[in-house]
Symmetry: C2
Subunit: 326 residues, 2 copies
C-alpha cells in the first residue's frame, strides 16, 4: 500500500519523538541536540527515504530508523553551519551557540553525528554495507560543499558551474542519498536505486535554485525569513553570478557599488540589487535553470521500471516543492 506524504510525515514525527534525547545524560550534551531537532523543519529527507522504500515495498518499517539517522545528520550540519556562519537565529529561535555557547554547539553537533550513524547502523543486515558506504560518502560530500561555500565567500570570480557543483554537494547529494537508501531497503535493484539517486540530485538543484529565487522574490510572511538576506551578505547565488556576468557599463558600476559600499542602508541595497536583477532578467535565467533540473528529475522518475501508480506520491511531492512559497 502506498502511503501519502501526510501519512509518511506522521510516521516520522512519531518516531522522532521516541528518540527522547532530552532524557539522556549529561543534559548539557544531549539537550542542545534535542533542541535542534525540535526546531522543526519539513522532514523532507526522512520522508524521501520512506517514500522511496514504499515504491518497492509495502512495508516501510525497516527504513524508519535509517530515515531518522539522515534527519539527525541533516540537523547536525545545520547546527555546525550556524556556528561557522555566525547565524543567531534558525527557524525563529536562537541557534545553539547563542542559546548555550560555542563549545556546547561543537560537542552536541559531534554527538549528533554519532547518533546519526547509530540510527543508520539499524539498516537491515542485507543492505547495511552499501547503505553505510553511501551515507559516509554523502556526509563527506556535504562537508566538501560547506567548505566550497565558505571559500566562495572570499572569492569574486565564482562561476555558474562552480556554484551548481557547490549546491550539488551541500544540498542535493543528501536528497539523493535519502532516496537511494530507501530504495535499497525497499529491495530496489541497483539501476532503479541509482535513478532515484539522480532524481534526488536534480530535485535538490532545482530546490536550491528555488531558494535563491525566494530569497529575492519571495513573500516574507510566507517564506519565514527576511527577504534579501543573500543580497545583504553578497552571497554568490545563481542570480548574483549571472547578474555580474551580464552587467556592463553603468549597471555594472552600480552593481559593484552595491556590493562594496558599506554605508548604504540594508533596504537600499536590497531594492537596488533587485532592481538590477530585474533589468538584467536574471530571474528568468534562474527560473529556466530550475525548470531544466526539474524536467530532468521528472524524466528520471519516468525511467524507473515500476508501475506508474507507485510513483505518484513522489511526483506530487516534487511538484509541491517546486511550487512552494516557503
Amino acid at each position: 500500500m502506498l502511503h501519502s506524504f501526510q501519512e509518511i510525515s506522521e510516521i516520522i514525527n512519531l518516531n522522532l519523538n521516541k528518540l527522547q534525547l532530552d532524557k539522556k545524560s549529561p543534559a548539557g550534551l544531549y539537550l542542545p541536540a534535542h533542541y535542534t531537532l525540535e526546531l522543526g523543519g519539513k522532514r523532507i529527507r526522512p520522508a524521501l527515504v520512506l517514500m522511496a522504500c514504499n515504491m518497492f515495498s509495502d512495508e516501510v518499517d525497516a527504513a524508519i530508523t535509517p530515515a531518522l539517522g539522515i534527519e539527525v545528520f541533516h540537523n547536525f550540519t545545520l547546527l555546525h553551519d550556524d556556528i561557522m556562519d555566525h547565524a543567531d537565529i534558525r527557524r525563529g529561535q536562537p541557534t545553539v551557540h547563542k542559546k548555550w555557547n560555542e563549545n556546547t554547539a561543537i560537542l552536541s553537533g559531534d554527538v549528533m553525528q554519532i547518533i546519526a550513524y547509530q540510527l543508520i547502523a539499524e539498516t537491515p543486515a542485507a543492505c547495511l554495507k552499501p547503505v553505510l558506504d553511501l551515507f559516509s560518502t554523502t556526509a563527506a560530500e556535504v562537508c566538501e560543499g560547506q567548505q566550497f561555500d565558505m571559500e566562495f565567500e572570499k572569492r569574486i570570480d565564482v562561476d555558474a558551474d562552480e556554484y551548481i557543483e557547490m549546491i550539488r554537494l551541500k544540498t542535493a547529494v543528501l536528497l539523493g542519498c535519502s532516496l537511494k537508501t530507501g530504495a535499497l531497503i525497499g529491495g530496489a535493484d541497483e539501476r532503479n536505486a541509482q535513478i532515484l539517486y539522480d532524481f534526488g540530485i536534480n530535485i535538490g538543484l532545482a530546490f536550491q535554485l528555488k531558494d535563491d529565487l525566494l530569497d529575492v522574490y519571495g513573500d516574507e510572511a510566507v517564506f519565514g525569513k527576511k527577504i534579501g538576506g543573500d543580497i545583504l551578505c553578497n552571497k554568490h547565488t545563481f542570480l548574483l553570478i549571472h547578474a555580474k556576468k551580464r552587467a556592463s557599463g553603468e549597471t555594472k558600476e552600480k552593481l559593484f557599488h552595491y556590493l562594496s559600499d558599506t554605508h548604504i542602508t540594508p533596504n537600499e541595497k536590497i531594492s537596488g540589487v533587485t532592481e538590477i536583477y530585474n533589468r538584467l532578467e536574471v530571474k528568468k535565467i534562474c527560473e529556466d535553470a530550475m525548470s531544466f533540473y526539474f524536467e530532468k528529475a521528472i524524466a528520471n522518475l519516468k525511467d524507473i521500471q515500476i508501475q506508474e501508480e507507485k510513483k505518484k506520491e513522489l511526483l506530487k511531492l516534487a511538484q509541491k516543492l517546486m511550487h512552494r512559497n516557503d
Copy 2:
C-alpha cells in the same frame, strides 16, 4: 605468529601514510585533517586493535583499516577538544584552529569523524554490526567524557568517583573499544573480547592517573610539555581532588589561596601547590590508585582463555605505559 609492538607500529605507520588525505580536494578541508594525523603520537589505539587481533589470529590484515579508523577518530577528538580548550599548541606545533581558523577546525574535524566511520565500515562483514555498534557507543561516551570535563571546570565540588567516571569516558573506553574491536575481528568469543575490553578500561584509568602524576612530577624535557599545566588551570585532577579533601586549617587556606589568587606568578603557583601535594601525600594516593587499576588490568589479562605466550606483547606494552616518563 605474534608481532612485536615495533612490528605492529610499522604496519600502522605504513598504512596511515596510505590514507593520503593531503591529496584530497578541497585541500582547505582535508589538509588540516592530514596535518592533525601527521602531528604524530604513539598510535597506541590502533596498536591495541592489532595486538588484540593477533592474540586470536595469526593474520592481522583484516584489522588494519578499522584500527586506522579508531586512530582517525582519536585525532578528531583532539582537534575539536583543542578548539574547546583554547589550546594553541599540540605536540609542539600550532593547533589547527591557530594555524588555519576555527571554522576550518570545526569542519575538518567533522570530516575526520566521517573518515573514521568509513574506515571502521571496512570491518569484515561477519562482525561489522557489533564492531560498528561498539564504536558508536564508545564515540558517544568520549563526547560525554569531554562534556563532563568541561562541566567540572566550572565546579569546585568534583569528587574522586566523578573524576574516575569522567576519565573512564574521556580516555579509557576508547582503549577498551580498540582491544575489543581487534579481538572480535581476530575471532575471539564474546567472553574473551569483553575481558580485553575491561583490561583496556583499567589500563586507561591507570594511564590517565599516570598522566596526572607526570604533569606535576614529570621531567619536562622527557614529558614533552610544560610541568604544572594542570595546576595552572586549576584542573580537578585526582591529585587536586584529594588535596582539597585532605587539607585543613592553614594548608587548606593556602591551597584555596593558590587556586583563587590571580596575582601570583605561574612558578609560585606550581611550586606552592606541589609543596602542598607533598605535605598531604596525595602523590602516594594517586600512585596507589594507579597501581590498583594496573593490577586489575593484569588480573583481566590472566583471565583470558588463551595460551600465556599470546599475551606477552600486550603485557609488555602495558608495563611500558605504566613506567613511561612521557
